[in-house]
Amino acid sequence: MFSMSEKELGKKWDRCLADGAIKLGTGLGLGIVFSVLFFKRHTWPISFGSGAGLGMAYANCQNDLRSHYLLHRREKEQ
């Protein structure tokens, strides 16, 4: 298996960080909204939303970085 080129790795990192920023921001926003509307301005919905967003971004990033080293079924069948 060949290692990733630096350019490809850089692009993947850019995608990861951008995706992480979007998901964190969205989770934080939703958490604030829910906290204000339904949960009497408690802190935990904000923490939960931002944590969930960060976790989803981490999982996506992990999958993206690992995908280079995985042999897909289509290629295996060929």
Binding site: G10, K11, W13, D14, R15, L17, A18, A21, I22, Q78
Partner: protein
Amino acid sequence: MLKVTAGTSVMSGRTFLSPFTVFAAAAAGDGERGASVPLLQLEDLSLYAAAPRESSPASVEPEAGELEQSVATLRKLVEPYTAWCQDTYNTIEPRVQSVLQRGYDTYAYLQNPPKDFYPRAGVIGFTGVLGLLLARRSRAKRLIYPAGLMSVSASLYYPEKAAAIVKTAGDSVYERAVHSYAAVEKMLNPQSKGEKVTGSETKP
């Protein structure tokens, strides 16, 4: 997709040597299995060239948006610092691993110690307590006396290891003294070194 079916003469151990006929059926739709399908000869199949990939939208990467481009520029700005952090981590990590390994080895040693280990450890600890008792009313003595007496008693029980430690410690102290002397000399006399260099250059 092509479906390949082999003839009855194919299934033998010498498939590469004996001639055989492979019939390949072209793609057939649903409900058309009974219909006659054009058969291809072996030479018509490409064994060594990969089939042309269908261009799917999933394989095409989307263009980088504005956020991604700004993240890329930020990453390039921060790249020297991240490289420094990586280098520092690569130098520190083996040392931490070696310290952890020493801890595991010590634990394993203490699980099955030699026969005389605990009595000797008791005597060495007693000399340390004796040093603390002797060093009253002085903080410096409280550090020096116990350490000195413990090292003396340990060297009596383990003379070879003590000699090896003293030798390596002496070598490293000498080396550091030489380096520090050179650094101090360089700091105090930078001009004289510059003159020496220019003087050697002007000479034919």
